[in-house]
Symmetry: C2
Subunit: 193 residues, 2 copies
């Protein structure tokens, strides 16, 4: 039973499989189960033993990504201290999940009519609230809507994840490049022009 995850010697690392799957699927969503398996370095049969099917795989991806991002949001304590610092903490804490997030962000219509993960909406609201707080406390510009800033954050995370994976951006630079660009864009200028 590798059911609850870690441990269980000799068994496939479920999370590792999901991470490589996310990386592959985020840039070629039509990839075959066989390709997903190969990308994870396992056999297709084994992949099927862990995930009943493609749907189950994608749902597991959603779940893990959401769980990790939620943990990141939690640990970043968005409501405390300087909003800019809170944003930095968020980017730092979510760094390990960028691969999964890249997938969830770009493919966000995974299951047709389905009530788009309420969990995601909740996190989205908390992040937008951070930007709103920054605006109210005077540090962030108010001419860029909080919800747009949240969307921009997702876009930059996604772009950063891909840049790192494709070798155009050093992994060590990811956090700085992302936070600086976003903060630079949403911080109010001390002086006009």
């Amino acid at each position: 039973m590798s059911h609850l995850g870690y441990g269980c010697l000799m068994t496939v690392d479920r999370e590792q499989v999901l991470r490589s799957a996310a990386t592959l699927l985020s840039r070629r969503a039509t990839a075959t189960m066989d390709e997903v398996a190969k990308a994870a370095g396992i056999g297709r049969a084994t992949l099927h033993r862990h995930f009943a099917g493609r749907d189950a795989l994608v749902r597991a991806l959603e779940e893990l990504g959401l769980r990790e991002f939620e943990a990141a949001v939690e640990s970043a304590r968005l409501h405390e201290g300087d909003p800019a610092d809170a944003l930095r903490r968020l980017v730092t804490a979510s760094t390990p999940a960028t691969g999964l997030l890249g997938f969830l962000i770009s493919e966000n219509q995974l299951f047709e009519g389905e009530h788009v993960n309420e969990g995601w909406d909740r996190l989205d609201a908390r992040i937008a609230a951070l930007f709103r707080r920054g605006q109210e406390e005077g540090g962030f510009r108010v001419d860029l809507s909080a919800s747009w800033l949240a969307e921009a954050l997702y876009g930059l995370i996604s772009a950063g994840a891909w840049s790192v994976h494709s070798g155009r951006l050093a992994a060590n630079d990811y956090q700085y490049m992302t936070t600086e660009l976003l903060l630079g864009g949403c911080t109010r200028r001390s002086v006009k022009e």
Copy 2:
């Protein structure tokens, strides 16, 4: 012969089909040809008459998106005047193509090993050159690499396209939100802190 495109009364608007296909596929890349057809408001048979198959459809998408983006880059005259203004012109000129770009940006591994569109690389280089020029002329910060700024631009275009399509961002605000965030992030501060 609707071969060369526009005109031809009574015939399906090829570009319109491609645009709606891009919008759909960018958020659910596994969508069926039938769904693509319905999204475009035409029958599956008609879709097949215009595009030999799924591959042909995607390639046509690539082609049109690249062509439109190239035209935008061209008309923006990136090497002239203030780099910030050039960037504004680019965002403005590329606005009609955001739907297509959103697809091409997120799904950029469309055909396995294939030489990633050299056309795209060329445009990418020109855009990175714009940011580099901005850095050399002193207007843009140099601690964010030009290639990262280019990637960030793509990410923001993609995020903006989706925000507009999903109703979270007014179409009229798209250009302002995108350019202001990016320019705010890459412009050097007149005063420290």
